[in-house]
Amino acid sequence: MDRRAIFFLGAAAVCLLLVPLSDGYAWVATATGIVYLLLSLGSWLDTRSRRRP
């Protein structure tokens, strides 16, 4: 797995850990976490496609 995907995965984990603390803004933390999960997946697929012979 590439480092960028791991970084995005870490950012997603941080956002999702903040959800219980976010009171009225839980949707912001959730949405940001989901965006980072998608970015992590996209980055992983991007790296994988570049490595293919």
Binding site: F7, C15, S22, V28, A29, V35, Y36
Partner: protein, 330 residues
């Protein structure tokens, strides 16, 4: 109005002026480094939009600072003065140490520290502090994601475009708008923090009702102070920054400023005080990460994390000590 109240208002406006002075480089660094504007014109451009923010945004952030950090009964002239001194001293110490801390978080920590020194931990409003704490972490991450997504979107939209010269000209024009938007967001979020402190002071000293909105003279003076700070400080800072700024392409500068501006607009509208410095840092990291992770200067990102951890406890401690020192003397 008593002399002591006028004095603390002057200290609050001085804090706002220093904020503009200090943060001006954030607003104009990218337009200067891409040579879209000369440093002198860039500073005037940013200062104008700092001031103009009062027309566009309400006073939700000011209300959060005045009502959601500590209970209103504990706020007095002494508490607000000690809070401001704590925030200013913390800013000066970290400026000397080269830590990219946030004046906004220093202000929140300062007010909280002085209030606790006066009446104990029960005066803290945990829901308000939690909201601010959550967005200390979320705002740079949101700026990063938006900066990155804008960069990816632009790459997809224009990757077949062959006339690079013409494209760059377009992005340079776009950067004028994105820099203006970021300065507008900076003026809105940061000037409102000072407005909140002055409103709290007016309520504490009996010059305004507990549910009063921010008087127009406070709005205008706070925006004038931050605009003047940008106007005077920006030029000097940019002159010394010239060689240190990472050379960004106009497209990257536009994406970073737009990402940060969108984050600041949304948080200002929601009444959440966030750090403009950390938000633009996050957005610039996002632009770098769109290329590859090694394009990012991770040292800067690491120092921002340290700033998150240290700022509120640091300014809290200084204000706590300042309040006790003032109390002892008086």
């Amino acid at each position: 109005m008593e002399l002591s109240v006028l004095f603390v208002i002057a200290v609050a406006l001085a804090f706002d002026y220093v904020n503009g002075f200090h943060d001006a480089a954030n607003s104009i660094a990218t337009v200067v480094s891409t040579r879209v504007l000369s440093p002198r014109i860039a500073v005037v451009w940013a200062a104008f939009f700092n001031f103009a923010a009062f027309v566009v945004f309400g006073e939700a952030v000011a209300s959060t600072i005045a009502n959601d950090v500590v209970v209103q009964d504990v706020l007095s002239i002494g508490v607000i003065f000690a809070g401001l001194v704590g925030a200013i001293l913390w800013d000066l110490i970290t400026f000397y140490l080269g830590l990219p801390t946030s004046s906004s978080h220093a202000l929140v920590g300062g007010i909280a520290g002085a209030a606790v020194a006066k009446a104990g931990f029960d005066v803290l409003i945990t829901s308000g502090l939690r909201k601010i704490g959550v967005f200390i972490v979320l705002s740079p991450l949101i700026g990063l994601a938006i900066g990155l997504l804008i960069t990816i979107g632009i790459s997809w939209a224009f990757h077949r475009y062959r006339n690079v010269e013409r494209l760059n000209r377009g992005f340079r024009r776009g950067q004028l708008l994105s820099a203006a938007a970021f300065s507008l967001g900076h003026g809105a979020n940061d000037a409102q923090k000072t407005m909140g402190v002055i409103l709290a002071l007016l309520i504490a000293s009996g010059h305004a009702a507990a549910d009063a909105s921010v008087p127009l003279w406070v709005v205008l003076s706070a925006h004038t102070a931050i605009g003047l700070g940008t106007l005077t400080g920006g030029w000097r800072i940019v002159k010394t920054m010239g060689s240190k700024i990472t050379r960004l392409q106009p497209v990257g500068g536009m994406a970073a400023e737009s990402g940060a501006a969108i984050t600041l607009f949304a948080t200002s509208a929601a009444g959440i005080p966030v750090s403009t410095t950390h938000t633009i840092t996050g957005a610039i990291v996002g632009v770098g990460a769109a290329r590859r992770l090694s394009a990012v200067r991770w040292g800067v990102a690491g120092r921002v994390v340290w700033a998150w951890i240290l700022t509120i406890p640091g300014s809290f401690a200084i204000s706590w000590l300042t309040f006790h020192a003032v109390d002892l003397v008086s």
